[in-house]
């Protein structure tokens, strides 16, 4: 078929294929994506739009990690705002209380979040379905209470002020364009990491666990350890996002890392599409822009929010990305295989 020499890109259905030189092949989407970032970064000078795009970038990072956990490994987490918070508070405490440089803060954020994810993940990931949802929710609540009550370290409910901005040598990432490119550069690295994991042996193992845990175990995959590794990976993504958030807004308060934020993160993955990287990007963008679109009738934001979650989950279980692609294919007269069984045996 397609050895390493040339890469032929083939439409799944219509057999149309175009030859692309192989060294360019696998990294084409990244180049396009990087090009898009650079273009938007240069073209948009208005600080507000850069700031909105930066927040979208930070949310995308979280969505990418959660997408690996929920979309590929099929494990739900209702407490991921806790890792987002751990990342933010670790760097805040390390840089302000102990005077370390922000990059030590980053290392601290990653190691603490990773450690907590390991300790919490071991027992939690033995659970499944509702119990896993409740276990992660309980964990998220406890961490939120910890942020609020540990006043000496976290500044308690009134928040943590004066987090230093990021700087490399004597160049500080003050200007929104600089921070925009830093965040979206991290997102690009995140996308490459996810893509490489998905296309590797680990990615296949993940999807096999999602499709049929029994068969995966029969193929010698240590499903519990694998779920734990992905849980830690998604926690690291969230903590890096927390680090970037803390140094961007230079103020954090427990309210930003509560249960509603965890639900918003899950919504990003759900809307984008459970097992698609670009879906995570789409979901993050939509969710970050939603309050902006709704600001005129802000009363309805919660109603619209709840509706989106329900409607997407009921009608488009695979999420908007796949939904749109399927509609696009349907409009081209393709026959798409509708996976849902007939109504008769939809019982568990």
């Amino acid at each position: 078929m397609s050895g390493l020499g040339g890469l032929s890109v083939r439409f799944r259905q219509s057999g149309f294929s175009v030859k692309i030189p192989s060294f360019l092949g696998p990294s084409l989407p990244y180049l396009l994506f990087a090009g898009a970032i650079a273009l938007v970064g240069l073209w948009v000078e208005n600080f507000y739009y850069l700031q909105v795009l930066t927040f979208i970038g930070i949310n995308t990072l979280v969505a990418l990690g959660l997408n690996m956990l929920m979309g590929y490994a099929g494990q739900i987490s209702l407490g991921h705002a806790a890792f987002f918070g751990i990342g933010a508070y670790s760097t805040a405490i390390l840089t302000v209380h102990y005077g370390f440089s922000p990059w030590i803060g980053l290392a601290g954020a990653i190691s603490i979040a990773g450690l907590v994810a390991l300790v919490v993940g071991l027992p939690t990931l033995k659970l499944s379905g509702y119990y896993l949802g409740m276990g992660t929710l309980g964990f998220g609540m406890i961490v939120h209470i910890l942020f609020r009550e540990w006043t000496s370290m976290t500044g308690g409910a009134s928040g943590f002020v004066g987090i230093p901005p990021l700087s490399v040598g004597n160049y500080t990432f003050y200007s929104p364009t600089a921070y925009f490119s830093l965040v979206w550069g991290t997102v690009l690295i995140g996308v490459i990491i996810c893509r490489r994991i998905i296309d590797s042996r680990i990615g296949r193992a993940l999807r096999s666990v999602h499709d049929s845990e029994a068969a995966a175990r029969a193929m010698g995959i240590d499903t519990h350890m694998l779920k734990l590794q992905v849980f830690v990976l998604s926690a690291l993504f969230a903590s890096v996002a927390g680090f970037l958030y803390a140094h961007f807004v230079t103020f954090i308060s427990p309210g930003t890392f509560d249960f509603l934020t965890s639900v918003r993160m899950v919504t990003m993955v759900v809307i984008g599409g459970m097992a698609s990287i670009w879906g995570a990007l789409l979901g993050a963008a939509l969710l970050t822009l939603l309050p902006d679109w709704l600001h005129t009738f802000s009363e309805f934001e919660m109603v619209v929010y709840g509706l989106i979650l329900m409607v997407v989950m009921i009608l488009l279980p695979q999420g908007l990305t796949r939904g749109i692609l399927d509609l696009w294919e349907k409009s081209k007269g393709e026959d798409i295989d509708i996976k849902g069984e007939s109504d008769g045996d939809s019982f568990r």
Partner: protein, 385 residues
């Protein structure tokens, strides 16, 4: 796994462009004084943001009715932060960079104010916060002002009243949010100045439904009085629980519950409760020579005419903020540095929340006289000497 359908390639490219196109800059007019407002209109702090938004819209309308400022009308652009720091930061940046406002009123809560201060400072835009947290104006930040009565004055008013009656031991119970923490800090730090010792400090969740355990612990320390620092509905539950435990020692509340809603919620448990409040609640009981009386009267009349709902002291913060800003804009032609100067040098500005005397060292401009002590007697507020 080498295969990659062309679809994802096109999808990723169009995705990034659509996002940036979605939020194209909209054209804006130059002919009005554009000021921004960010309040927690919905969400947990809506009892603050909602009246503040209404008051701002009302005062802008009245200013424009009598000719605007230097002949140009005032235009208010108001966003809802839902008391969420991230939304507040985005709203401020939208006001500054897209709507190109010249000054900002709000936000309503302390955490959101602390979150937006760096942005306003960097952009060099005067911001008048409606939150009470002390960290907003301490240490002094050139562009940041505050019209809400500070917790320092509220605690001073309570402790003054206690000193007069001879209470020396106090038990405090505070809500576990920013307002509660700032109150607890002041209650504990100012106590020695009035010869009072805090014998017990407890806290409760904003949504908690039963505080009898905390009150029992406080009662065990035999204090002379109890101070409850929080915003509805928590303090109403505390008052009821105190009545159930028939705790007969006096119960003080904070200015956070200085609104008719508290009496309605606490029911007859509100009888005899003392609390500091802006003069707005007892406007008609004020002696006629009180300079604030006419301002309060007009504010209350206008508010009830426009919204036919009871007035709340919190709306007054935004009302004063806009009036101070309007006076400062006069004659400066929109030069932000001059406006900042004029705000900072505002003297004897009689507002709803008190008489403002700003100075380079005091960006709140209020003193304990902004507060008066009231007692709740058969369902209404009564001034206490």
């Amino acid at each position: 796994m080498k295969k990659m359908s062309i679809k994802t390639v096109l999808l990723s490219a169009t995705l990034c462009f659509t996002i940036s196109l979605l939020i194209l800059p909209r054209a804006w007019a130059e002919s009005t004084w554009k000021i921004g407002g960010i309040f927690a209109v919905t969400g947990p702090a809506s009892f603050l943001g909602d009246p503040e938004k209404k008051s701002m819209e009302m005062i802008v309308e009245t200013i424009n009715k009598n000719g605007g400022i230097d002949g140009r009308p005032l235009e208010a652009v108001i966003y809802d932060t839902e008391a969420d720091p991230t939304k507040a930061v985005m709203a401020v940046s939208k006001l500054i960079n897209r709507d190109k406002v010249m000054a900002i009123i709000g936000p309503s809560t302390t955490p959101t104010s602390l979150a937006v201060i760096p942005g306003a400072q960097r952009a060099g835009i005067p911001l008048i916060s409606c939150a009470a947290g002390n960290g907003i104006t301490q240490p002094i930040k050139p562009w940041i002002f505050k019209t809400a009565q500070s917790d320092i004055h509220a605690v001073a008013a309570i402790y003054n009243h206690m000193k007069k009656i001879g209470h020396t031991k106090v038990g405090i119970i505070t809500v576990s949010n920013a307002f509660g923490e700032s109150g607890k800090e002041q209650l504990e730090s100012q106590a020695p100045d009035f010869g009072i010792t805090v014998v017990r400090a407890e806290n409760f969740g904003a949504k908690d439904t039963d505080m009898t355990a905390q009150l029992t612990k406080i009662r065990g320390e035999k204090p002379d009085a109890i101070v409850c620092w929080g915003t509805n509905p928590g303090p109403a539950v505390v008052s009821r629980n105190a009545r159930q435990l028939n705790i007969d020692i006096p119960l003080y509340q904070s200015h956070g519950v200085a609104s008719p809603k508290f009496i309605d919620l606490a029911g007859e448990a509100a009888e005899g409760i003392l609390l500091p409040t802006g003069k707005i609640l007892v406007a008609d009981l004020l002696p006629d020579d009180d300079p604030q009386k006419p301002v309060l009267k007009t504010y209350i009349r206008q508010f009830q005419e426009k919204y036919n709902s009871p007035v709340s002291g919190f709306g007054g913060y935004a009302y004063d903020g806009v009036r101070i800003l309007a006076d400062a804009i006069k004659g400066t032609g929109g030069d932000l540095a001059k406006i900042r100067e004029k705000i900072e040098s505002t003297r004897d500005h009689v507002g709803v929340s008190g008489t403002f005397n700003f100075s380079p060292e005091d960006h709140n401009g209020l003193d304990p006289s902004a507060f008066v002590m009231v007692r709740i007697e058969n369902g209404t507020w009564k001034l206490v000497e």
